[in-house]
Amino acid sequence: MAGNGASSTPFIEIRDVSKYFGDFAAVDSVSLTIGKGELFSILGGSGCGKTTLLRMLAGFEVPTKGRILIDGVDITEMPPYERPVNMMFQSYAIFPHMTVEKNVAYGLEKEGIPREEIKRRVGEMLNMVQLGAFAARKPHQLSGGQRQRVALARALVKRPKVLLLDEPLAALDKKLRERTQFELMSIQYKLGITFVVVTHDQEEAMILSSRIAVMDKGRLIQVGTPKEVYEYPNCRFVADFIGNINMFEGTVVDVDGDRVRVNCKDAGGELVALSDSPPLAGSAVCVAVRPEKIFISQNEPENSEDTRLAGVVEDLGYFGNLSLYRIRLEGGRIVQVSAQNRRRSAERFLEWDDKVFISWRPRSAVLLTD
């Protein structure tokens, strides 16, 4: 779903924002622009500063330095109740003493909108999240998924310029989470509101987002479409954080145009990767390959362009749609390989301790220097 409704004009501008708690930099010199109508994710582990960044967009924290602009207006010091921004909280924060209808109406009442219009807009919003029949219920009479939709309706009913979502799906079980992901995307598409999602779940970020920002230790590490971040990680952290990956540490032997040959002792051979900005010979690098990009075979592969390594099946796991293999290379290194089970067969294609060859194309590997 990359690029759903995204436009290139900056709508949210985060200019060199830092937030210190005492000496600790929760957010460290982050600059970021988000386009109108984007579904933008901020991804990172716990304590990486993603929630602090979101809270600065909502107005609950004031940046120590830097400015934040939304639609050209500097909102850095604007209190939360004046911002054209609404937030869906991780705990949903539904007012327990109010009915569903009252919860959703709260924001409109504070705006001083006429009663009939409030009633109409709340009704529309509740119908959109399929809670029309639950308007008179109290929050404790709702299931987890219904509460989540009340929180969403309440945050959307004021038609904010930006909707902030803090771990929107973390409290739901797996099946419901998958369905809700697609609901969120279709609501976002229908309303055209810019969504900024904070999540620690890389799968969620990949599926939902038009673009992802990966954060670590308060810093922005990489910003890109899900595809870019997955296929072209710019450093070891991003490569390791998103999806599974095999990383081979080694030294550059020689560089031929964009082809880089890397010597890796524990792989027991030479690896080839392509790089736009090749490092100098002799420098320490990392070659990273995703498990699904590796071919596995019992005969030695012929294509001399490819990286080829020999090993032994150490372990294998059958997952139905795919099989996962752990191959011990001659250098002692273990490599993860995943293969689609395309053919239907009761017999296994490979068994424990089988001698195998693994190989991958040069453009399947990523060369990392950071």
Binding site: Y81, M87, S91, A93, F95, G107, K110
Partner: protein, 268 residues
């Protein structure tokens, strides 16, 4: 029955007997027909009747009630404000000190609290001419100072159990901070405020030591009156009075418990 559980049961029975036998004897002897407080002379309710004819007892009961109602209301207002300041507003200078100091009236010996308040009232009278005489006003002020500490603790613990993002969400939806207090915070801590009000009410009704220090001539609360009467020997009408107080206080505690339990279940 296993010997071990029999042992536990007897310990339990002993503990409860220790707590409630004295109270039970007071209640039983309040229906004693005899003029001697410790000799049983048949069942009667005549001491309750005599109590109602005793103006001195009725006056002090009415005074105690008036004080307790005022104290409970004032302590709830100030205690709620203090509890909210302690748990909600962003760290201000001296917050830890303030937080520790709010509990000090709870641990301070009542004699000290009473004495210090008396000294304060006397010196204020000399300096500004107020309070001109000690009685209802001074007792109310004294009771409020220690009762609000208890209310503040109750409110603080209720607020710390409450999700702070509820208030943030209300602000995010356009509620100004003061509006949010009335829309969200107060309705949600209302059960704790009721529990605090009842606790403050009972504490004030109970208090003897502090009242004795800060009261003046002609103003004696019910506990003060009972204490002075007992000094001349226990009479059966005291038993009747004590029984009424037990009934009153325990129903207050029961209501407080019920209210706080209901609010816990609702927030869960």
């Amino acid at each position: 029955m296993k010997p071990r559980s029999r042992f536990i049961l007897s310990v339990l029975a002993f503990g409860y007997a220790f707590l409630y036998l004295p109270l039970a004897s007071v209640i039983v002897y309040s229906f004693n027909d005899s003029r001697l407080a410790t000799v049983w002379g048949g069942f009667s309710t005549r001491w309750y009747g005599e109590l109602l004819d005793n103006d001195q007892v009725l006056d002090s009961a009415f005074l105690s009630l008036r004080i307790a109602l005022t104290v409970a209301t004032l302590a709830t207002i100030f205690g709620t404000m203090a509890g909210m300041a302690l748990s909600r507003f962003s760290r201000f200078r001296g917050r830890t000190l303030f937080s520790g100091m709010i509990t000090s009236p709870m641990v301070m010996p009542e004699v000290i609290t009473g004495l210090s308040l008396l000294l304060l009232f006397v010196s204020m009278q000399q300096l500004v001419g107020w309070p001109a005489q000690r009685g209802f006003g001074t007792i109310t002020i004294a009771h409020t100072t220690f009762a609000m500490a208890y209310v503040a603790i109750i409110i603080q613990s209720r607020l710390s159990a409450m999700d702070e993002s509820l208030e943030e969400a209300a602000m995010d939806l356009g509620g100004r901070p003061l509006r949010v207090v009335f829309d969200i915070t107060l309705p949600l801590i209302a059960p704790a405020m009721i529990a605090g009000w009842l606790l403050a009410f009972t504490l004030s009704l109970d208090d003897l030591v502090i009242s004795s220090f800060v009261s003046g001539p002609g103003a004696s609360t019910l506990p003060m009156l009972i204490f002075s009467k007992v000094k001349l020997g226990v009479t059966p009408d005291i038993n009747a009075l004590a029984t009424l107080i037990i009934l009153f206080v325990s129903s207050g505690v029961l209501i407080a418990w019920w209210v706080s339990r209901r609010s816990q279940r609702q927030s869960a």
